[in-house]
């Protein structure tokens, strides 16, 4: 329930609030908008003016489809992940404006894929990456190894690594802080020496959310949806490609692997990739991994 108070918008002064209350007009938001005109000594003009300003400030504006299409044509980019087969699976790469999810059991290679995406973006595409690590699985030496396989030139390796910013977070509030800071720094156009971030990797989302779920409280789910909203807003409004990783659980009825975090989270990513390790001969785990697409807005899955 939103209550009007002085200073909420220009024109809504403390005197006006007093006047509204004196005339019996309730200052809760909904009631304010449904009060009929011409009541009491508060002029209709003043009421209408305040309403208009409130709406202008807080409501969202409709955009024409043609204008949005023009904007998207110029701002959407498809970023290669560095692995041709993964690119093919994702319909030529990571799309900016979307959240892509990698799920898999522990040891299936999610962190490795994330690191490789980070290096490929910073070295091949010369774009900045923000890597948010919540599992402790990030090692700079592995990044260097990956960069070294791409180029022998030390300077290029260093500049590739410099384009990757790392944030270590271990709970959801810190993660939300980091994401909001990113949004603020872009909106205030803080000129960092690096430039805009094009890829945001969050490894992993389930590590910070799983401890909150369970029990009958809605708090945990609300925080999860808040995080989801931040990620999607960053993806859309700042034209970033967002990659998140998630664990898997077994489906109760069918016994198949399915991504963790439940049904509410399942609506968040536009694309989901499941990574599995293939059993080598003699039952030993091989170094081979299979990635399969479990949800995509572009491919139809038979």
């Amino acid at each position: 329930m939103v209550i009007l108070r002085a200073g909420l918008c220009p024109g809504l002064t403390a005197e006006m609030i007093q006047l509204l209350k004196a005339n019996g007009i309730v200052t809760a938001l909904y009631e304010f908008f449904s009060v009929p005109f011409g009541d009491g000594c508060l002029s209709t003009q003043a009421l209408v003016a305040v309403r208009r300003v409130l709406l202008a400030q807080f409501s969202a504006f409709p955009v024409n489809g043609a204008d949005l299409y023009e904007e998207l044509k110029s701002s959407t980019a498809i970023l290669s992940t560095g692995s041709r087969s993964l690119d093919r699976l994702l319909d030529s790469g990571l799309y900016t404006g979307e959240v892509t999810e990698l799920t898999g059991a522990p040891g299936s290679g999610k962190t490795q894929v994330c690191l490789s995406i980070a290096v490929s973006t910073s070295h091949d595409l010369k774009q900045n990456v923000l890597y948010v690590d919540s599992t402790g699985g990030f090692t700079a030496s592995r990044l260097l190894q990956l960069a070294q396989t791409r180029t022998g030139d030390e300077e290029e390796q260093v500049s590739a690594l410099q384009r990757i910013q790392v944030a270590r977070v271990f709970d959801v509030y810190k993660m939300l802080d980091v994401l909001q800071e990113l949004r603020c720094s872009v909106s205030q156009q803080v000129l960092s020496s690096l430039g805009p971030v094009k890829v945001l990797v969050v490894d992993s989302v389930s590590a910070v959310i799983c401890p909150l779920l369970g029990g009958r409280q809605a708090e945990g789910l609300a925080l999860m949806m808040q995080l989801a909203r931040e990620l999607k807003t960053l993806a859309r409004e700042l034209s970033m490609a967002v990659v998140v990783t998630n664990h898997v659980t077994r489906d109760g009825s069918s016994g198949h692997l399915k991504p963790a975090l439940g049904r509410s989270w399942s609506f968040v990513p536009s694309t989901r990739v499941l990574l599995e390790s293939r059993e080598g001969t003699w039952g030993k785990a091989s170094t081979c991994r299979i990635a399969s697409l479990t949800k995509s807005s572009r491919w139809t899955i038979a």
């Binding site: 329930m1 955009v63 043609a66 299409y69 949806m225 609506f267 572009r298």
Partner: protein, 263 residues
């Protein structure tokens, strides 16, 4: 003016291939289903049918799309339009897209304020007769957590939105399509459902209502989306449409291809 709207919406019916018995303006349709069952694809199909010119098989009406969870994929819509138009030039696509208006909302309070400010839009554009809200359940958990212990406060914003939507639908003769996500398991206690249990069981549908009563009572057609598990048929998704007042059910199946939904 009013009869023109009925005619328009009936043309829409034919596009859905007998899905609804009659769809009048003033109808509120809810698409309900778990993730990956084709709800958003169906919305693209609907938008395409509305914005395409009459020569392309469309209705040339304007559509207002309210997006609450950044789900809308413009490029996918353009792909579908290109497949439907016989000559898809840039000009034609732009003309079609000019009939679509998009709004993004970040919270249920912003949704409510946006609905207030959209009222002017409806006055200014008489051909704007379809409103799509994807999805109305996006703020459910956040609202519940913000509302504290009282269910009333938790549901207040959505209730206000539903009431105002009803007013808009009534006064401007709109048809409203809203998606709700199936985020809960079917409960064993099914007395909460407004559709008789027997009817739901016959139709083999899992439904657990969780949004506020004002919204549930507003809905005239509830369409359940699900994936079909039999691999023999080529159609992969199925929908069951329930008319809430008349209590009859229609089933249909469809598949999703490059060019959109195919029945």
């Amino acid at each position: 003016f009013y009869t023109a709207h009925i005619l328009l919406i009936n043309c829409l019916v034919l596009g859905f291939l007998i899905l609804f018995s009659f769809l009048f303006s003033g109808d509120v349709v809810e698409f309900h289903g778990p993730e990956g069952t084709g709800k958003t694809e169906m919305l693209y199909h609907l938008i395409a049918r509305c914005v395409l010119p009459k020569s392309g098989g469309g209705l040339e009406v304007e559509v207002m799309f309210i997006d609450t969870d950044y789900h809308f994929d413009m490029l996918r819509l353009v792909t579908i339009l290109e497949h439907r138009l016989s000559q898809s030039t840039e000009e034609m696509i732009k003309q079609c897209l000019g009939r679509l208006f998009l709004v993004n909302c970040n919270s249920s309070t912003q949704l409510l304020l946006t609905l207030y400010s959209l009222e002017n839009k409806f006055f200014a554009h008489p051909s704007l007769c379809i409103v799509i809200l994807d999805s109305i359940s996006a703020f459910y958990w956040i609202d519940r957590s913000n509302g504290g212990e009282s269910f009333n406060i938790q549901e207040m914003n959505l209730k206000r939105c539903a009431e105002f939507l009803e007013k808009l639908v009534r006064e401007h003769h709109l048809a409203l399509f809203a998606t709700t996500q199936m985020i809960m398991q079917k409960s064993s206690n099914s007395t909460e459902s407004s559709i008789p249990l027997k009817l739901l069981c016959e139709a083999d549908v899992e439904y657990r209502p969780y949004l506020c009563k004002s919204w549930q009572q507003m809905v005239t057609h509830r369409i359940f989306f699900s994936k079909q598990c039999n691999f023999s048929s080529s159609k992969t998704f199925s929908i069951v449409s329930c008319h809430t007042k008349k209590n009859h059910i229609i089933k249909c199946s469809f598949s999703v291809a490059e060019c959109g939904v195919q029945f």
